[in-house]
């Protein structure tokens, strides 16, 4: 294509609209989304979003994998908080198999899920800071994400795509080092989070850039299917942890923070407050663990939970179970089931249809990023380009979850 072709126009350049191709590899979008925007100067007149640049056909793969092999796929949905996805999937299958989980496993899961919620919110909020010009926040708070990863490493051996736990519980018990690290994190993180808030919460520049930008009303948010911190910032206290408690969340005392106007500042505040609430939940969970019998880290369901390798070599029964689970011959009821968990970005749902075969007949993920993101183009209309960029970072759209 010849890039130097002459352009003939009689129109006044002041009245012409410019087409701006934002993405798919634009550094400001933090992911692979394309937005073709019609610009009038700095203002966006209209936009069209194109997604699917990392579509990996998860739902098709899931139809070809036995249940326990689907966990690694869920890792790669919202990779900023993979443990929530892993456990959401495990709980879906446990619900299908009607497995009664021991309280201790539930509490351990809650610790891991809340830690990953903090990791997720750290990314989002520091990126909002970064995009408004405060790089310090990003560099500073990111080290605490490393500390969370160290805890995950201690529990499961991996940092980011954790594949944490098994259907029926955990693969192994938390060791002493893991608890030491969690306690250390609980002591150090609040100090840093407080400093982070001091840097931004009352910062004139930050408030000017975010308050009153991209306001969203309650009705609009519900109409567009928003969930998670975005919906709560508009003032609706919908949280799956409260409305549909899973993993014994009903045993915990925590608050669901809500905003008023749904603008970027409110979303930032809601996420920050959720981090404080997550810390509270973890503390309560550690307290509750003290009164639980030690050493229980999975439900007593030998027909669904992989036996330890030592047993497999020395015990006939364990060998049979091992074989049956690995070959996918578990006795799962023919049923359909919808299970939702509160992911980092909102309601993460698993719609599973089982026909009694080796693999799911159909597995559909309700991915909050996908549903939240469709409002981006319509709400950008009339916005300044620089505001639209922060708006996108405050929506915390994760490309992996968006495209599945």
């Amino acid at each position: 294509m010849n890039h130097n072709h002459p352009v003939f126009t009689d129109n006044d350049p002041q009245e012409e609209l410019v087409t701006l191709n934002l993405g798919p590899t634009h550094p400001a979008t933090h992911g692979v989304f394309q937005n073709v925007l019609q610009m009038d100067g700095e203002r966006i007149v209209s936009g069209v979003s194109t997604v699917g640049y990392i579509h990996r056909a998860f739902e098709k793969i899931a139809e070809h994998r036995p249940f326990y092999q689907i966990t690694p796929l869920t890792d790669r949905l919202n990779y900023c908080s993979s443990p929530i996805n892993n456990m959401g999937w495990h709980m879906t299958v446990e619900k299908l198999l009607k497995i009664e989980m021991p309280k201790r496993v539930d509490y351990l899961r809650v610790i891991i899920m809340e830690l990953s919620r903090i990791a997720d919110h750290i990314i989002c909020n520091t990126i909002i800071g970064q995009d408004t010009g405060a790089t310090t926040t990003f560099l500073y708070l990111f080290q605490f994400r490393e500390h969370i990863y160290e805890i995950f490493e201690e529990v499961c051996g991996a940092r980011l795509t954790t594949n944490i736990g098994r259907i029926g519980g955990f693969e192994r018990d938390f060791n002493e080092v893991a608890f030491t690290k969690i306690n250390k994190f609980l002591k150090e993180f609040p100090v840093a989070l407080k400093e982070f808030e001091n840097l931004l919460n009352r910062n004139r520049i930050f408030i000017d850039r975010t308050a009153g930008v991209a306001e969203v009303g309650k009705e609009t948010a519900l109409d567009y299917g928003w969930t998670g911190p975005l919906l709560r910032a508009t003032g609706i206290d919908y949280d799956v942890r409260v409305s549909d408690p899973y993993s014994s969340y009903q045993d915990f005392d925590f608050e669901v923070p809500v905003g008023t106007s749904g603008d970027i500042y409110d979303r930032y505040l809601v996420r920050n407050e959720e981090m404080w609430q997550s810390l509270r939940i973890i503390e309560q969970s550690l307290e509750k663990l003290k009164s639980e019998p030690k050493g229980i880290f999975h439900a007593d369901v030998p027909e669904f939970y992989l036996p330890p390798k030592q047993e497999v070599y020395n015990n006939m029964e364990a060998l049979i179970y091992h074989f049956k689970i690995v070959m996918g011959e578990i006795d799962a009821p023919k049923a359909e089931i919808y299970h939702a968990v509160e992911g980092g970005n909102g309601e993460l749902g698993f719609y599973l249809i089982n026909d009694g075969g080796r693999t799911p007949y159909r597995l559909h993920f309700r991915r909050p990023s996908f549903i939240n993101y469709q409002m981006f183009a319509p709400m950008s209309e009339g916005m300044l380009l620089s505001d639209a960029i922060i708006n996108m970072s405050s929506m915390n759209i994760i490309a992996g979850e968006l495209d599945a």
């Binding site: 997604v51 699917g52 579509h55 056909a57 739902e59 098709k60 793969i61 139809e63 070809h64 619900k95 299908l96 519900l222 109409d223 567009y224 299917g225 609706i236 919908y238 409305s243 549909d244 049923a335 359909e336 089931i337 919808y338 939702a340 309601e347 749902g349 719609y351 249809i353 007949y361 159909r362 559909h364 309700r366 996908f370 549903i371 993101y373 469709q374 409002m375 495209d403 599945a404």
Partner: protein, 166 residues
């Protein structure tokens, strides 16, 4: 138990309004599920939203049953946030003419969900403002989630079946 009485109420109200059009009612894992038909689905959804307070559209997707006459089930999940009830609505449509009225006029969220369903299953949502592929490439040519299409890229030459025991 509380859930069941609530579900019964909803069921009774739905049958009152739509009569025989509400069929195959079941309650797997406490979630009220029923099947309805393309001619009334729009009214059913509207009724659920406005009269029975199912104000939130959680999800739209589809399932393919190649052996059935009406082989594609479009599945709607709705949520009543106030009373904390979920409901599942299914419509079976023919694989040859997979058309169903759009829900975009009721919820804006339906837009991309329906585009995704169209992309994967080829379900044509009548009245959808912009029914294009969303995740796959425009020139893919097939609707890949239908059961007859393989998972792997059929054009690959570097994978020999004999090494995979096929």
């Amino acid at each position: 138990m509380e859930q069941t009485t609530l579900n019964n109420d909803i069921h009774v109200k739905l049958v009152e309004k739509f009569g025989e059009k509400v069929t195959a009612v079941s309650e797997p894992y406490g979630l009220l599920t029923f099947v309805t038909y393309t001619d009334v689905i729009h009214n059913v959804l509207l009724h659920l939203k406005n009269e029975l307070n199912f104000n939130f559209l959680t999800d739209i997707t589809a399932v393919h049953y190649p052996e059935k006459d009406h082989g594609i089930a479009v599945v709607y999940h709705l949520n009543n946030m106030v009373e904390r009830v979920r409901i599942r609505v299914k419509v079976f449509i023919a694989e040859k003419h997979p058309t169903i009225p759009t829900a975009t006029t009721i919820w804006k969220a339906a837009n991309w969900m329906e585009r995704e369903t169209y992309d994967f299953f080829g379900v044509k949502f009548e009245g959808h403002p912009d029914l294009r592929r969303i995740l796959n490439m425009d020139d893919l040519g097939v609707h890949p989630m239908l059961k007859q299409y393989p998972l792997e890229d059929p054009n690959r030459v570097d994978k020999k079946d004999e090494f995979f025991g096929r």
